[in-house]
Structures are given as C-alpha cells and as structure tokens.
Amino acid sequence: MNKRNFAAVIFFAIVGAFLLFTALMMHPFGNFNEENTPEMDEYIIDNTQNETGADNGVTAVVFDYRGFDTLGEATVLFTAVAGVILVFRRLKK
C-alpha cells in the first residue's frame, strides 16, 4: 500500500465515522414532540401561518424569513445564463 492509498483510507474512515455518528444522532422519524425538535423548527411550524399568511411553510422560509438566500440563488442563475449566452453567442462574419 503506497502513501496515497493510505491517505485515502484514513480520509474515508474519518468521513465514514462522521456520517455514522451524524446518522445515529438524528431525531426519530415521525415522532413530533417538544423534546426532540430544535427550537427553530418549532418556531417556524408554529408561527409561519400567522406571521406571513402563507400556508406553504417552505415558500415562507425561502421568500420571507431567508430572503437573502433566495437573492443569492437568483444571482447564481443569472450569472450562469449570462455565461452560457456569452459562450454560445453568434459571431458576425
């Protein structure tokens, strides 16, 4: 086993252990109560409809609570489209 494979095995073991412990610490599925829910989830589930009026909580988070994130996402899309149109532009002969 050369040096590079050894480093790869070490890296794989570290990442695998990290993923395994993260999976073991996840909340139980479908078991909604006060103890195993983070505070932010609880706040959004309780107050989204009364604060924004939107029934769709995901859209309320994306466009209202976390508007800056959507602005960045739109900027990424705009940059991608500008780049593709720049690369495939029609040149005058």
């Binding site: 409809q49 009364n50 924004t52 009026g53 939107a54 029934d55 769709n56 995901v58 859209t59 309320a60 994306v62 466009f63 209202d64 508007g67 800056f68 959507t70 602005l71 996402e73 739109a74 899309l77 705009f78 991608a80 489209v81 593709v84 149109i85 495939f88 532009r89």
Partner: protein, 163 residues
C-alpha cells in the same frame, strides 16, 4: 437541431399546453401548495425544451431570439430586487410600517388590498403579502433563463449537421 417527425410534433401540440398550464399553476399557487417560482419555472422551461426538440432550434429561433429572453430574465431579476427594496421604501410612504430589506410590507394592513390577508389554514390566494409577487418574478426569471440556455445550446449544434 432540425425538427422531428410528424408523430412527435402532434404529441407535442397536445402535451405542450398542459405542461404550460401546470407550470403556471405551480408558480401562481407557490404560497399555498408545494412548489414555487423555481419549481414551476423549471416545469415551464421543460415544456419549452420539448417544443425545441420537436420543432427544431431553427424554427424556434425564428419566433423568439435569445436577446428577448435575456430582457425577460432581467425584468424578473429587477422585479425581485425591487420588491425587496420596496420593503425599505414603504416606510417613507406609511409611517406605521417597519422598514427592512425583504420586509413583507403588503401583509396585515388595510391601505393596499392586495394579498393582505393573514391566518392559518385559509388556503386563500389573497394571502401571504409579497411572497406571490416574488414567486411570479422568480418564475419569469427561471423560465426565461433556462429556455435561453437550452435554445442557445441547441442552436449552436446546427453547424455540425450541415445546416
């Protein structure tokens, strides 16, 4: 890319309006049902890509140029950022509002009767303040952007086919 056979064109004629209506429904009901501007825009852009595959890029680029799509995308982006900045500017018009970037200024007031209702489980389209307008802006942006990408890349392949 040139067009495909008559069978494909007929099926596209039937399926294209349905795809378009479904995508616009997803955009318009973004604050009530799953989906939103990005998802509905992707659905509509898929329908337009189907049109492009069936009829060929030379036929499509006779109808719409990528410069027009670029203008539409810029209108969507300016609308989105303008709605975000209106959250600050509304404090100069109505002193009762609290000005913030991305402030939901249409909600819970009586001056402008547009999307101003509030409450749990209404499932009413006249709710959620500025969120539906932002959904429309982002939907326009995604439709124009994705269709411009697909159209430009399809039109670039016509040289290899000897057309």
């Amino acid at each position: 890319m040139s067009g495909m056979s008559r069978i494909v064109k007929t099926i596209t004629n039937v399926a294209f309006p349905i795809v378009l209506i479904y995508g616009l429904y997803v955009i318009a009901h973004g604050h009530l049902t799953p989906g939103g501007g990005f998802q509905g825009g992707a659905v509509v852009a898929s329908g337009l890509a189907m049109l492009l595959v069936a009829y060929g890029s030379i036929w499509v680029i006779g109808k719409v140029k990528e410069k027009q799509l670029s203008i539409l995308e810029s209108i969507g982006a300016i609308g989105f950022i303008g709605l975000a900045f209106l959250g600050i500017l509304m404090v100069f018009i109505y002193s009762s509002f609290q000005g913030n970037f991305f402030n939901n200024f249409l909600i819970n007031q009586n001056e402008i009767p547009l999307f101003n209702e509030i409450g749990a489980g209404l499932a009413n389209i006249n709710t959620a303040g500025v969120i539906p307008l932002m959904n429309f802006a982002v939907g326009l942006k995604v439709i124009a952007g994705l269709f411009a990408i697909v159209l430009v890349m399809a039109y670039a392949t016509r040289i290899k086919e000897g057309k």
